[in-house]
Symmetry: D2
Subunit: 296 residues, 4 copies
């Protein structure tokens, strides 16, 4: 067993950004990736490269960041997976974005083999992570959380424990629901000011100077001003997050009146042809409904 070496499975863009932060802090890291070539840049910076998942599984703590539930189940539970061999990590930390159901299934399988499990989805894109501005939302046994916390804090400025089970998955959905509401709220007041004769640019200059703005709005505001709906996150993808978030709310019997009003507007925006635009284009539906003539 390789005491003290951090195992990392999955070195796509996000995984690479996170491992780079660990290497910056001189943490020893062993990586594995299905496409081995992607581990090259990390090897150059000092990461060990495992020749198999079995080798990686010998690390005390192994993090996984893959692209979805099918991949996660395969690399963890599948043949030759992290939990399938003789050597098994003491702690498994999943940083992928998967549902509560999948998360609970992995946790149960790990528990049956005495492997502790943390759900630890990340907020932020690779650039944000690289700047140390990301967040880890973590759920699982608090004792295990405290064990890995120092490593997480090297990576991200916010590291929060939100519960003993799968709560981290829901908190990430809650974050995305708020994002949609924030944008729709902004879009309503922007068009209101605009129809009264205040340009979007002037309004955003004011808004970004107020105590109501957010780092997200400051960053994306110029695109709203320019009606630049280049792809960051499509309206259809936002709808998917609302599908999941509202399904969770239904399961928990929590009414979400505002969320739900925004969800219907997202659906209307899709009906009006904005499916594949960035979801900031919720502006376009609102402007049309307000009878604002399109800019020249």
């Amino acid at each position: 067993m390789s005491h003290g070496i951090i195992g990392w499975l999955g070195t796509g863009r996000m995984g690479t950004a996170i491992v780079n932060r660990l290497l910056d802090a001189d943490r020893p890291v062993m990586v594995w990736n299905r496409t081995p070539a992607k581990t090259g840049p990390l090897a150059v910076r000092g990461a060990q490269v495992a020749d198999s998942i079995a080798t990686l599984a010998a690390c005390d703590v192994v993090y996984v960041m893959v692209s979805g539930p099918a991949d996660l189940e395969e690399v963890v539970l599948g043949e030759g997976g992290l939990l399938g061999g003789d050597a098994r990590p003491g702690v498994l930390v999943d940083c992928s974005t998967v549902s509560e159901e999948v998360s609970a299934r992995i946790r149960a399988a790990a528990a049956a083999l005495d492997v502790a499990f943390l759900a630890a989805p990340v907020c932020g894109n690779p650039e944000v992570i690289a700047e140390g501005q990301g967040s880890f939302i973590v759920s699982g046994p608090v004792k295990v959380f405290e064990q890995v916390r120092p490593d997480l804090e090297v990576v991200a400025k916010t590291v929060v424990h939100v519960g003993e089970r799968e709560q981290a998955r829901l908190v990430k959905l809650a974050h995305n629901l708020y994002l949609g509401m924030m944008v729709q709220s902004l879009v309503e007041v922007v068009t209101l000011a605009e129809k009264a004769g205040t340009s979007r640019a002037a309004f955003m200059e004011f808004f970004n100077g107020s105590a109501l703005t957010s780092p997200w709005i400051r960053r994306r505001g110029p695109e709203l001003v320019d009606r630049d709906w280049h792809l960051t996150f499509t309206t259809e993808l936002l709808r998917k997050d609302f599908d999941l978030g509202l399904a969770a709310a239904r399961e928990l019997e929590v009414p979400m009146p505002t969320t739900s009003a925004v969800y219907q507007l997202i659906q209307s925006a899709i009906g009006h042809g904005l499916r594949d635009e960035d979801f900031l284009s919720l502006y376009e539906l609102q402007a049309a409904s307000a009878g604002l003539a399109a800019d020249a």
Copy 2:
């Protein structure tokens, strides 16, 4: 005519905070207040005290900050008011919170006497102003705006020109509508997480580390966590802002689907007994609707 001296009418808490910023920057200021005693602290710091509005009216630029439309009309248009004597300022700047209708009436009366008029409501409370973190939203002729801008920038970090007429009034209402939506959106996702087993404290710790939070939420978050609805701004006062904002939206024929959903929730909160609590107590209605047992 007293060239270069800034005239200031109304030295309540907000007016005093603003004049202090001007004095800090060594600007010469002449003040007048209905209750003369309130000008004392400013006089000690070097402000001249006018013996009458007529004296103040001889300044080139006179700012007014009074508590409402009736006072504004009296000190400007009434007998012995700023526009009622022989000496009249070249520019009148109103920083009070009044409706577009009142604003337009004052502007017309000023124009008839060749006095330029700026609407310049302020965002921020006296503490925020004192720290230089306030905002001026200004509307009126851009040339006049440029003339007074250097003084406004001494006071507040954000000084934005939003239109040639009364737009500043609407932009301030838009700000308040967004505030209500922001809080209701937060309250929905907080209760969702809470019912799944994440404490409000943990959720807010996460949220305040994310790119979605705002300075306002960071400041008031602890009260939401503690369910401390001490009075900053009551649910009933928020409803008043929504009354005005939605009336303006109706006038402009701008649909406000999310705003309007939040407005109805504010009304429901009042029906459920939260009229005189701080409007953060929108949490209580949402928690009750989610079937969350009240905390011990």
Copy 3:
């Protein structure tokens, strides 16, 4: 004083339809109209024609049906009006559509002269009245209501006393709010079925055979099927009723979550160009939002 003769002021289309019902039942009626020619058909059928409002005012009970508040105030309170001369009726019944404020003002003026007042707006168009299918919504002293009830029951199948003051005005607004919600609700389920492949005609055939349909929907259903938005009542007029109804709800502090969602959709429909179409055209906005290709 002309005991027992019913006075009727205002013989437009609605007034004529109502007086015809009274004449059908052999009730003695005296009429007056600003444009005297319009009383001709009624005179032929046996109605007396008053030469002045003063003459009409001598009847024990005088009904008024004029086109709005200004007319009402003039014929009742103005010079030469019903309450302005020596002879005054014992009971004044107003069947016009006016606000609670106007209604209360008339009531107070009447009370000061010992004239009892009933607010009695009508539901139904002239054809519906002619068939005896209309409704009177009445508010005012119940004793006075009982006095005139036999005459009202000759005219309309439904005659209901809804309160001692101006409640009849609000009940009529409530009727119109429900109408808007009924149509929007229908439009949502129609488009849902349509997108699944059920024609509007088939859906309406089913719906009109169910216990959920209403006489109004049965009557107007064919226009929805044919997308025939010929003018009966425009989207803009419906918005006006919602303006008034929601203002009353606000005054009474009654949240109206569904009503308010529909109101915003009406506003959006106007933004999308449906202002002057019949309000059944709410279908068009919903169909567009659902991405339904327009019919050939």
Copy 4:
């Protein structure tokens, strides 16, 4: 093969009511029920009783009305089921309430054996059926529909063909969504009138005389007036219909803004303790939100 005899599987309360209508019209009917005793009253009135599903399967047309999808799949596709033996009906008509998915699965299985399939859910309760006031919503091949239509018309006053596939299932859901919106709309205007001083009884008397009422409201109005929430259909069951209807709308990408606002109110009503009351108790949530003191 028993030409001309109608096969009927499932003689619970609804099945019995329907078969009675067929017997009233002298149609020959052969019935089968899992609990044979329940066929007794029909046998007395002249129905043949099949000793097995295999015997019933020899009828040209067999109707099925069972309590849910599991039962349906068993009696149709299971061992000894309608499609499992040598004799098979030419036409299978399912009158149960099941999802589109189940319906499509049965249709495919039937098609593989050359058995035509109609989805034919029923609207109305046994009393309504007994009076001939029920409805059949039918989807499947129109030619097959025309073949069975004469029998359906003996049973119900409304028999409508709504599509070639599973549309009948969706139309029934659409009916139930409208039902929820109708009640919430009514509840909003009732409380509005009530807070102005019009009793629920007076309002309903007026409403039921207007062109907006429906047979359903006329029937259930007295319970709303009396706040009698005895169980007909619980708030929780209505929520289930909204779950299904809104899931179908999501699948079809049809925004349902009003439906969705009502759905959230249903969820809030459950949070406020109305889960097991009749869903007319949506009144209670609305009355509480309006600050209406509970009646004595």
